[in-house]
Symmetry: C2
Subunit: 462 residues, 2 copies
């Protein structure tokens, strides 16, 4: 099926009409042809009651795969409707890290019911995973991986994979551990397939294994996937024992999640939920947006104070007022460009604190040539458009000069401030994404005004 | 090796001192312990000449893997220094899609030399791949995949994988094609391992295959990996024949690349290169930043005109001027919040054009509650801080009211404009990321001023 051939809505319509005609066997057949991710999307078009019935039409494995993809509210409603047997069947099919993700979103009563319906070993694993801090590598790993012994043959390895592989999220990367579960090597099913059956694993395993610790940051762990093209990354505990792996699909989710969070932070939004846009209510959206709006509004008191201090001069030469928005806007945009570039470079680990002087020096030069270009164009534009075309007689050569000079100086300042603050924020263990356009703009607004009024006072003698 | 144990610089220092002592055998040993990605980073600390010598110390396969990770300037320099034999050895070890990526960055003479040193079949594949448009799925696929026949047994399949797998970028997803190369099914090495040797592939293969066309957008293709947790995605041509696959590592690169591009676009930067920050020169940075700065500066002529039109009223009541930055800033921030949220939701396919009314209605309500909250706080703040504390006698109850009302109305407008423009841009096949904070701010600046002066005229009778 090409993803574009039929939309989810169309398939949902088909299933709805089959549902109304009670043609459940045909629904069952239809579901067999649809990827569980899409089944979950289709469920979105049905009522809670209908979903339960549809869910019971899914084959066991597809049922679990679909369940994972539902949003947590739907999951909760379904668990409430499940019998204990049904619940156990779903949980049995789930990978442990998915079970933990689900549990984290559920109220205590549901969590109790889930744990009651798992065997004691699984329960212990779940409890261990739940203890890792939210942003840690441990919180996204799964303890289900293929482990091999170094003196096994390729044949032994395949036997072991065939025997235990069905429950593992990935079998393609196999980890070699010693008797105390220390990670001593890694190999892949590809390597195994390309070796003879009686080759010994330690003779060809890779001993230089890149791994992370359970307490490492999950974003840092996820970035390693892009860098090294991994399918899975081993996670060790404080005693260097292999306790789990992170799989590439979870790494992608973390990267996308972090990117969304960065984009939101860079636009003065406090992320309070991972729900998709249309699922977030008005009040919750307000809660995520009002803190920064409020803070930035109050911070603008300073720009107001600057204007007030120059009030007499402004009323003496009111034409200066009309260029304030353009000058503040340009300062903000210049600063926003450099801060966003540096924030992104920091999250991709392209730059770090030791590069600070190199970066500032570059941004100052970029600011200077940008400022010069802007000033040249503005000088002519103000003369031709504002003075001649729009007939603003008050604009003199010197006024035009003040505006152009302000552009040069403010662009240099804005670029420098824009690149320095994110680096300092990161050094101080804050998230650099906060130092993006909105906050930078508030700062450059004040800087731009000071430069503007300063130059005006000096050159126009007002 | 834990990634944090030794930094790249430290290892580079070690190798440099071994290099000075001409202890090449030890360097060779050291390199065997280091991931090719890190070897490439280490190369960054050496001169061109030194790199060639070091490169010759690498084992063949690691040499190719390292070569892929170098930046294109270094690659070019190395190819110039290679003998034809060396070049052929490297190219032979590369996956085809990587060869094509390298070729795309090279000057014509180097391209000729590369093509001269490949066999005719590879050359034909390279030429086909080079023809796909830059942003298409075809441009990031590799034609090297495992294809199986539907009537093969599991044993046949493993034989085929063992025979041909060494040259494939991934062997874990296997595609089943008919005699005219149409894609009819898919299976995985995991499935194969869990079945008996004499099972027939068509009995258990998945026939509902999700695929993309060569001309589909590469970002859309990459998003499917996050959605469906794929390790590889098949790519078919116009006649539905399987011509290649996209692997998850390339999908991650595309996603990160698109995220970087979005963040840059959202901050008024034209992306002209994929080079990391520190590799981009001042002039190139200027080129990527000046177009929007210039456009937005000139657009601000309108805000200037609005202020000019109200010049007389402003000089009658100069106190109004000091709140312009705060009001424009708040409008810009409010609009930036909603536009960035919608831009992100659009790229994650969480919303589309048909949701426009739902979105606008939500943003208007969010704008109203945000505006009310801001107005309430501002009203008190202006009275207590600006009037009483800072002693601005000109602030009357009515002036304070105008400011508060402006906050409410402008926030609603800004939120609505901020969410509508990206959706319309996408509908008109523009990139919605352009409709982010900088452009929205320029628009909301004008709107905010009109609302402010309109309310001031009506309420203060100036």
């Amino acid at each position: 099926m090409n993803i574009e051939e039929k939309t989810i809505e169309e398939i949902a319509q088909e299933i709805l009409s089959l549902y109304r005609d009670k043609k459940y066997i045909e629904i069952k057949k239809e579901f067999e042809e649809i990827n569980p991710t899409d089944v979950a999307l289709i469920f979105g078009e049905f009522s809670e009651e209908q979903r339960i019935l549809l869910f019971r039409l899914l084959p066991k494995e597809a049922a679990a795969d679909t369940f994972v993809e539902l949003d947590s509210e739907t999951q909760e409603a379904m668990i409430r409707a499940f019998s204990d047997t049904e619940l156990r069947e779903v949980i049995d099919e789930l990978y442990l890290d998915d079970t933990v993700d689900i549990i984290e979103e559920m109220p205590a009563t549901i969590v109790k019911r889930i744990l009651k319906n798992t065997d004691s070993q699984t329960r212990a694993s779940i409890n261990t995973l739940l203890k890792y801090p939210e942003d840690s590598a441990g919180s996204i790993m799964t303890p289900e991986f293929v482990d091999l012994k170094e003196n096994s043959t390729v044949e032994d390895a395949f036997k072991r994979i065939r025997r235990t592989g069905v429950d593992k999220e990935t079998i393609y990367t196999c980890y070699v551990t010693d008797s105390s579960r220390h990670l001593i090597g890694v190999t892949t099913v590809k390597e195994l397939l390309l070796h003879d059956y009686d080759d010994i694993i330690q003779d060809f395993m890779e001993t230089n294994v890149i791994y992370v610790n359970t307490h490492d940051d999950k974003e840092e762990a996820a970035r390693l996937f892009g860098k090294y093209d991994f399918l899975a990354l081993p996670v060790v505990d404080m005693e260097q024992r292999l306790v789990g792996i992170i799989t590439v699909d979870d790494a992608i989710d973390v990267l996308e999640e972090e990117n969304t969070e960065d984009i939101h932070k860079m636009n003065a939004i406090v992320r309070t939920t991972e729900k998709p846009y249309l699922k977030i209510g008005v009040f919750e959206t307000w809660k995520s947006r009002i803190p920064w709006l409020m803070f930035l509004m109050i911070s603008a008191t300073f720009t107001g104070m600057i204007i007030n201090a120059f009030e007499d001069k402004l009323s003496a030469m009111i034409i200066l007022t009309s260029f304030i928005p353009m000058l503040m806007g340009t300062g903000g945009n210049s600063g926003g460009q450099s801060s966003s570039t540096i924030i992104r470079a920091l999250s991709l680990n392209e730059v770090d604190f030791k590069d600070i002087f190199k970066i500032v020096w570059k941004e100052i030069r970029v600011g200077f040539v940008c400022g010069l270009s802007l000033a040249a164009v503005s000088f002519v534009k103000v003369l031709l458009v504002d003075k001649l075309l729009l007939g603003q007689e008050d604009i003199t050569f010197l006024v035009d000069l003040v505006i152009s000079l302000t552009l040069v100086v403010e662009t240099v300042f804005a670029k420098a401030v824009g690149c320095v603050l994110p680096i300092i924020a990161k050094k101080m263990k804050f998230d650099p994404a906060v130092m993006a356009s909105p906050l930078i703009t508030t700062i450059t607004d004040a800087i731009s005004l000071l430069i503007y009024f300063g130059l005006a006072t000096a050159i126009l003698h007002i």
